[in-house]
């Protein structure tokens, strides 16, 4: 029997998701034994035309990482959609928009101006910014369009499954690959990770006091957190309450609070809104009756960049999707 064909592709991402595949270590040999990798730009020398030459649905599954920011990325994922039986959105950027999705606080013009003109380390006396078409003596050069808004993969093509995380951890990748090979997949649209929240599985969760109240907000660099205590107890904002479990508590174990890369649990529509709601609920609860409105606002103002914090990984997938430009 012919081995199932598998493709990997990347869009607006950092390369960490490619690394995550390599991090399967010797397990990758099992994968390679069971499947035929037919396209993987970071590692193998197949070209777009090779994909184009394949029949529709010929690739069993494409694992696509990265958010969609350019016309080229859109074109490639549409091609892969056509040629693949299953599409798995691989990693936070593809699933939620991820860190590249923070660009939705700006648009093309403001990004180009910053990057090509006003950044102190940029020397660009003629103020040249990328153009989609440039005429040179040899003819016309073209570049793909750079969109104003970063999108998630499922805002661009139909997605069958999601592997969350920045980057997805090896055990979840292997579980997904095994489920696909054995045909034991859950219903379409599922996130291939546990349904619990991170607090439910966090080792610090048990020690969390029943009633949390934050008196003063601390940023991670300001204190060395007690590795035994829940971050919230120490005044450090942790998004564990509104984040899906499954990462292996990676940040927590490195004594850093969760920033939500696994995305929300099932019932949450907007991770950022839920996060800010959860945190606002416990700010100063202990003294809430004694605090004046001014005291309350002062405490909340200690969160310097709420939109960037609560939507760190999920802005493009949120209800508002991006900043509304004036």
């Amino acid at each position: 029997m012919a081995k199932p064909k598998v493709a990997f592709y990347w869009n607006a991402s950092c390369g960490g998701c490619e690394e995550a595949v390599i991090d399967l270590n010797e397990d990758i040999l099992k994968v390679v034994e069971a499947v035929d990798i037919v396209f993987w730009p970071v590692a193998l020398d197949f070209k777009k035309k090779d994909v184009e030459a394949m029949g529709d649905g010929e690739i069993a599954v494409s694992f696509i990482n990265g958010a969609i920011r350019t016309e080229e990325q859109e074109e490639m994922v549409k091609l892969l959609r056509k040629k693949s039986g299953l599409i798995v959105a691989f990693g936070s950027c593809s699933h939620l928009g991820g860190i590249p999705g923070l660009a939705n606080f700006w648009d093309r013009e403001t990004i180009f101006t910053r990057v090509y003109k006003t950044v102190p380390s940029t020397a660009n006396p003629n103020g040249i910014v990328p153009q989609q078409k440039t005429n040179v003596p040899e003819g016309e050069l073209t570049l793909p369009e750079f969109y104003d808004t970063v999108k998630t993969l499922d805002q661009t093509i139909d997605v069958d499954y999601y592997l969350p995380g920045c980057a997805p951890p090896p055990d979840l990748i292997m579980n997904a690959v095994t489920a696909i090979l054995e045909g034991k997949l859950p219903e379409k649209g599922a996130v291939l990770a546990p349904e619990k929240s991170l607090c439910d599985t966090c080792p610090r969760g048990e020690k969390k006091p029943e009633k949390l109240s934050i008196k003063e907000i601390k940023r991670p660099y300001e204190i060395i957190p007690d590795p035994e205590k829940c971050f919230l107890e120490e005044g450090i904002i942790c998004l564990g309450p509104v984040t899906r479990s499954g990462c292996g508590e990676r940040c927590i174990n490195a004594n850093m609070p969760c920033r939500g890369c696994f995305g929300p649990t099932k019932e949450v529509i907007d991770q950022g809104a839920k996060g800010l709601s959860a945190i606002a609920s416990i700010l100063g609860v202990e003294d809430e009756e004694k605090m004046t409105e001014e005291d309350t606002k002062k405490l909340i103002d200690q969160i310097v960049d709420p939109a960037g914090l609560f939507y760190m990984y999920s802005l493009p997938s949120s209800l508002l999707k991006r900043k509304r430009m004036a």
């Binding site: 709601s277 609920s281 809430e288 409105e293 960049d305 939109a307 999707k321 509304r324």
Partner: protein, 133 residues
């Protein structure tokens, strides 16, 4: 011209009664205030507010009992913190803070309700509809 819609979450115990008083006393308040009765202002999750804006509301009004008077004791303190943090967040996302307003209206304050509703309608008229991409 279409008047901008204002979705208003009113707590059952004080503010909804207040709005009722306003209605009973035939006080004028704008028709584009769409009232949603909730048990407590502390029930109004920021997710609901953003959903209302997303689905076409120009503004969202949240009204609860005065501090100290919440039927559930502390729901309105929570509402205050959430609304303030939400407004800060929305501002960063290019949505004017005035589009979300939290205020207190007691059961007997029909006039106060009408006043706040009219002010909100006026503010929304000045800001115009909320166009989202």
């Amino acid at each position: 011209m279409n008047e901008p819609t204002i979705v208003s979450f009113l707590c059952n115990w004080c503010s909804y009664e207040g709005a009722d008083k306003a209605g009973g006393a035939r006080l004028n308040y704008p028709a584009n205030i769409r009232i949603v009765r909730v048990m407590c202002s502390g029930r109004v999750d920021p997710e609901l507010v953003i959903q209302a804006l997303k689905e076409g509301a120009s503004g969202v009004l949240i009204l609860g009992c005065h501090p100290g008077d919440c039927h559930y004791k502390k729901g309105n303190y929570k509402a205050l913190r959430r609304a303030y943090l939400l407004k800060k967040t929305l501002k960063q996302l290019g949505i004017e803070e005035e589009r979300v307003r939290l205020d207190w209206v007691a059961a007997g304050e029909g006039e106060r309700f009408a006043e706040i509703a009219n002010e909100m309608a006026e503010t929304m008229k000045n800001l115009g509809p909320l166009e989202l991409s």
